[in-house]
Subunit: 229 residues, 2 copies
């Protein structure tokens, strides 16, 4: 299953000085003690930071919750596996006999982990700005798909627009509990879709904040459509 | 409560070119719409990546689980708040009236978030290597306290040594379930401390892996002592 990995290095835009690092990144733990788990740990953190920076720069009005939600959609296992497939990463993997027989080279988790490991290896092989560029190139299309409108609008507005676009009634918000001290109150609010009864909850230090959190939670239930809107 | 923040910038080792970024990092959401929440998102990711890199470099034999556990101990809210107190960060915070009255400038969550935001601001004000150096200087003592022995030994060995040092009997491991297919088996193992009956569980693709995971879970129950060795 292991093809000449220089083709992969070219596709990534990084000619490895240390070929052993790339080989290690492509080695699943089922294939040996020197495997890609540590590089995956590093690559995961590299991607998290690079995407955070890209989102902060691109969406100057998005709040922290929106930024977190967008990042989670970009870096989730399925998204990473899809990028790995675009690189035909499965063809380069080194797997143990059991994983080979059960189709490990097509499995989302193995592909996503290997992609993280390859990016971690690029960082160790080169330096930060090189690795950052490779990550940004890899995620360019996904980043471009994120809708500015979604990012700059608050969750309640986005949820209302999403429902209206589907000709569904607007959500109903209700304060469930008010707690805390006078100067540090805590509100819990429910958000209900009146037509199908779907429910979410949110907490916050004001009624408005709690409503936004509840709308955010409801949006997460619609995640696919919203994050890639 | 807001003192001349140039003293803080000196303590951090980064003279800000853009003083507004530092001011924003020190502004809690209770004090205004332009606050530190977005910078906190960025700083959290910066710290996560920088500490990941430092741990990977320092502990060449530690597995991913150990690296994750060490990082979690270093960057948890209480640890960050302690570092923030060392910088007297509370003295520089801008808080709303309610938070001021209820002692917000001494609260762990507010201090930890503000420290993350300040580091995010340093990244935006300078460049990666500068921010990385500031993070590593800040965490130097905590990183130095991590015990090499703990990091290079596997969880079962570490657990056994920890118990022996306390003159307690060694743990008992038992396979609870075996599932999966022939070539992709999944084991669940329990780890019991015979003297006090404390229990943990672990899963893995082999009995040995599952035992290590169970030992790791038990170590997490002893976390304070272990992570800071």
């Amino acid at each position: 299953m292991s093809t000449d990995s220089r083709r992969l290095a070219r596709a990534l835009g990084h000619p490895f000085a240390r070929a052993d690092l790339l080989q290690q990144a492509l080695t699943h733990r089922s294939a040996g003690a020197v495997n890609n788990e540590r590089l995956e740990f590093l690559g995961d953190a590299l991607i998290g930071f690079t995407i955070a920076e890209a989102l902060v720069g691109r969406f100057p009005h998005a709040d922290e919750g929106t930024l977190s939600r967008m990042r989670a959609a970009l870096v989730k296992r399925e998204s990473l596996a899809q990028l790995a497939r675009g690189l035909e990463l499965g063809d380069y993997l080194r797997l143990g006999a059991g994983e080979l027989r059960t189709g490990g080279h097509t499995r989302d988790s193995i592909l996503a982990d290997a992609l993280e490991a390859v990016l971690g290896a690029i960082y160790l092989d080169g330096e930060f700005n090189r690795a950052r560029t490779v990550v940004l190139n890899l995620f360019r299309a996904s980043l471009a798909q994120l809708n500015d409108a979604h990012a700059s609008k608050d969750p309640k507005t986005r949820l209302q627009e999403l429902l209206q676009a589907r000709r569904r009634p607007i959500p109903e918000y209700e304060v469930l509990t008010v707690g805390g001290t006078q100067h540090a109150q805590s509100f819990t609010v429910s958000c209900v879709l009146p037509d199908d009864g779907r429910l979410s909850r949110g907490e916050g230090s004001s009624r408005r904040r709690a409503e936004q959190a509840a709308a955010e939670a409801m949006l997460i239930q619609f995640e696919g459509q919203v994050a890639h809107g």
